[in-house]
Amino acid sequence: MFRNTPVAAQASPLTTLRGWAQRAASSRTLTLLVPVVMGLLLAACGDGNHPRDTLNPAGDGAQVSAWFFWLYMILDTVIFIIVCAAMVVAIMKFSKKKGDDDSLPPQSHGNMKLELIWTVIPTIIVLVLAVITVGGVFQLSAKPAEEQKIVDVEVIGKQWWWEFDYKNERITTANELHVEEGTQVSLHLTSADVIHAFWVPRVSGKRDATPGRTYPLYFKPFEKGEFIGQCAELCGASHARMGLKMFVHPKTGPDSYDNWVKAQQAAARAPTTALEKEGKKVFETKGCKSCHTIKGVAELTQRSRTTGPDLTHVGSRSTIAAVTLENNVENLAKWVKDPQSVKEAALMTNLGLSDKESKAVATYLYSLK
């Protein structure tokens, strides 16, 4: 197949290196490429403390992914260095120099031995990687054992917010997922309209929320705190405003997961001040309740694509409009008065509330801790 001329005989690595040092100063600018790219590669690794750093895992799913990242990163770096080094040496050694005549370099067509080496070695590497990868795939998709405590949540992606349904605990909340440190989480993802993807980078890889289907995502968070994420599949105009937060509670203490569940299971707080009462009236008479539930006040019997979040404990959330705004009376009023000015194409209807009405209903909603 090839006309055989051993290429290796053309230059020994040692003479190459000696020549390299001498010529480094006058080397072709093309070789600058390599240090620049290598520097960038190094910069990629040490990136400090980032709120969504996939390489600083806080859950077992993200941990597996990060482990695979470093495995591939090391391998890729080695391969990249080999390729670049070969290229740089070739440029240094085999460029036409000043004063060279026009004679031709050796016209070899290939080398069977080399072809075999650089086919077989990558094949072995790829096979090993494939075996490790398959192990990782099955590890991540393994269904948790039945007997242990599981935080089991149905997640429904909607344009452009998340509904979290704790079926066993009878809690429905939105955009802020609460789970327990060290306890298995089992999410069942679906969608009410288009395809979305659930992604909290520090805790776990992502999973699509597909209409008409339900797919699981299993992970176990091992660090307490607040983790941010957002939809990762293009889902329309406000795709960028479909954020979510995950709160990982400790097992015990006042801030425990069980306490959070109890607080959420409680009935909606009754309004006390005049403004709150006024706000409740706005909620009941101005059309809010045709899309929103407040348990004990107005409950929807049927749900549709345009059904809005359950507001029974909306005051307890840290943000509104899917992590678009901080939750406070002022922002709530802004949101109910003109949703589309806060979030492009938001499906919440602009009810034409007056400033006074929006202030009242915002005050009422914020009181629903």
Binding site: T54, G61, I79, F94, K96, S108, E115, L129, P201, G205
Partner: protein
């Protein structure tokens, strides 16, 4: 070693025998009616460069939006439209037509043929492509650009969620698909049947081989997406329920149909660039391509395996561990032939005597930049890692390294290398070097930091992000880099225009090159060759110059040949096809059912023009 024995310029044309040159028109009419593969190639190339500028402008607009957090330069819908059109333009209207331009101009020359097998079908392909591209871009004027992403996932493309932009998108893509199918059949027949005597398949240049492989990819991968697009069109126009979940339709159906096309398409974009690099490196290293047979077979292998990897785009969709594992394994296999190519290119450099005019700079820088993109691709071939990287900026970085650093750099290399053959003039090397270095800087400045953005959890296609996400620095760098790339591309276009008008004149063989296309004049005559060369090796022109006993010998007497004449029929026929589609489109979003008449009349027009076409004397 041996010095030059002969010069290609010294090859004398034989005494003219009976030959019928194609009767031609002049000026604009000539370009409209031409069936000459060289002119059609130039039309494709110029269209490709035009849409490259459009796609680049779209990118610069949304990069400005992303430069700073909470920016309000563009809204979400506009941003999504620009992102969708950027990808659609770059893939279908820039890189593919540029590739088609090279295929058209070079393949007949490389194989010693006088034209493609079906010259009028070739013209039809071009005009249908142009019509399809105009239909897609017409959406900007009529109701807004498609905004469901370039892979248009159902059900977001449904009538309930997306406006008329998607109608233009699916209809335009269906036209492009028809154009590509016709072209692929044409080129498969051309390469398999019209090779000069002695030009066995293993003597076919690597670029010719890669063009052959991608024609098979096009012929086999466009049918699935065409089916998908027509189902989508039916859903939108006639209320069928192929993707309607509530009625039992399946959104994953679209994903499979799309990626069964979409992944082979990736190789349609990259293999020609690999072919171009494989042509350029030996010329400027002044030695044969190392392991040419291995390079060819790895290209064929990539083409085959490319059909078995599509679902690696769907690892997060919940296919289950068995499918994930299977597609992870097939995808990883692609790394092997790709590696073989890279090592063989390095082997070509090793032991050469290299000089670095602009095409060589682009070809050499292709190696590490493409390698980097390939290595990050290896990462997402692993589902546990892909669950994090999928739909994040890490993937954006990956495919831009492969498509901009790979495909586009390869095409740039090709334009500088073949420009003298296209036009008879050299491109300015000085401006070329300015283009190369600024483009390389912009490319890395834009796309390298996107790896970090992906690792830091930035999803793709978000039109804005809050300051506390800490993504601002890398996004700002990306915007600056995009502007630099834009400026570099303008230098390239300026260079083309100036060089075309007043560049240094090029002879037949300005680079002292290897393959048959350099035997022709620059630019080649209508009939390409004065005589049909007999090919004795994989480097016929090189061996003519440097190897004793391997000269190309002109026969004493010329041969009889007959070139087909110009024709209006292909353009008229594709015009009716395009009108037919426009009629359908107008019916969907404009009131008044009489508009179907447009489609009906143009349907008759298609039949009529095909009849006129086949009965036309050639």
């Amino acid at each position: 070693m041996s010095a030059k024995l002969l010069d290609i310029e010294s090859l004398q044309a034989p005494e003219p025998h009976m030959h019928f040159e194609r009767p031609g028109k002049t000026g604009l009419v000539d370009w409209l009616t031409t069936v000459d593969h060289k002119k059609i190639g130039i039309l494709y190339l110029l269209s490709g460069v035009f849409y490259l500028l459009c796609g680049g402008l779209e990118a610069i607009l949304f990069r400005i939006q992303l430069a700073v957090p909470d920016n309000t330069f563009l809204g979400g819908e506009t941003f999504n439209g620009l992102v969708t059109m950027h990808a659609t333009s770059m893939v279908f209207l820039a890189i593919m037509p540029m590739t088609a331009g090279f295929a058209n101009f070079l393949v007949p020359l490389m194989i010693g043929a006088r034209d493609v097998a079906f010259p009028r079908l070739n013209s039809w392909s071009y005009w249908t492509f142009l019509g399809g591209s105009l239909v897609i871009n017409a959406s900007f004027v009529f109701g807004g650009a498609p905004s469901a992403g370039w892979f248009g996932y159902a059900p977001l493309t449904g009538a309930q969620y997306s406006g008329s932009g998607v109608d233009f998108w699916w209809a335009g893509l269906a036209l492009l698909s028809a154009s590509s199918l016709a072209a692929s059949v044409n080129f498969i027949v051309t390469i398999l049947n019209l090779r000069a005597p002695g030009l066995t398949l293993l003597r076919l240049p690597v670029l010719g081989w890669m063009m052959l492989v991608i024609q098979f990819l096009l012929a086999l991968s466009f049918p699935p997406i065409t089916v998908g697009l027509i189902l989508l069109g039916f859903d939108r126009m006639f209320g069928t329920l192929f993707y309607e979940v509530s009625m039992g339709g399946d959104p994953h159906l679209w994903q499979h149909l799309f990626w069964l096309f979409g992944h082979p398409e990736v190789y349609v974009l990259i293999l020609p660039a690999m072919g171009i690099v494989s042509e350029i490196l030996p010329v400027f290293a002044r030695r044969p391509l190392f392991g040419q047979t291995a390079v060819i077979f790895s290209g064929i292998f990539i083409g085959f395996v490319g059909f078995g990897v599509w679902a690696h785009h769907m690892f997060t969709s919940g296919m289950g561990p068995v499918a994930d594992a299977a597609f992870a394994a097939t995808t990883a296999i692609i790394a092997i032939p790709t590696g073989v190519k890279i090592f063989n290119w390095l082997g070509t450099l090793w032991g050469g005597k290299m000089t670095y005019p602009t095409p060589m700079l682009f070809a050499v820088s292709f190696i590490p930049i493409f390698t980097l993109g390939g290595l990050s691709g290896l990462m997402h071939a692993s589902p546990p890692l892909d669950l994090q990287q999928h739909d994040s900026y890490f993937v954006v970085a990956h495919f831009h390294y492969v498509l901009v650093g790979g495909a586009l750099q390869g095409l740039f290399a090709g334009v500088y290398f073949y420009f003298p053959k296209f036009t008879g003039r050299m491109m300015s090397d000085k401006l070329g070097k300015v283009h190369f270095w600024t483009f390389l800087a912009g490319l890395n400045l834009t796309f390298f930091p996107q790896h970090m953005l992906g690792n830091n959890g930035m999803p793709r296609r978000i039109y804005t992000y809050p300051a506390d996400a800490q993504w601002d620095l890398y996004n700002m760098l990306g915007t600056v880099g995009a502007l630099i790339m834009g400026a570099a591309t303008l230098v390239f276009v300026y260079n083309m225009i100036v060089s075309w008008r007043s560049g240094e004149k090029a002879g037949r063989d300005p680079w002292d090159a290897c393959t048959l296309e350099w035997l022709t004049e620059s630019p080649p005559k209508v009939q390409n060759f004065d005589f049909t060369p007999i090919v004795l090796s994989e480097r016929p022109v090189w061996d003519h110059k440097y190897t004793e006993g391997m000269e190309i010998v002109a026969p004493a007497k010329g041969e009889h040949f007959h070139m087909p004449s110009y024709s209006w029929k292909p353009m008229i026929c594709s015009g009716f096809v395009i009108l037919l589609v426009i009629g359908l489109l107008m019916n969907t979003f404009m009131p008044g059912n009489w508009l179907w008449v447009i489609s009906a009349v143009s349907g008759l027009g298609v039949v009529g023009s095909v009849y006129a076409w086949v009965s036309e004397p050639v």
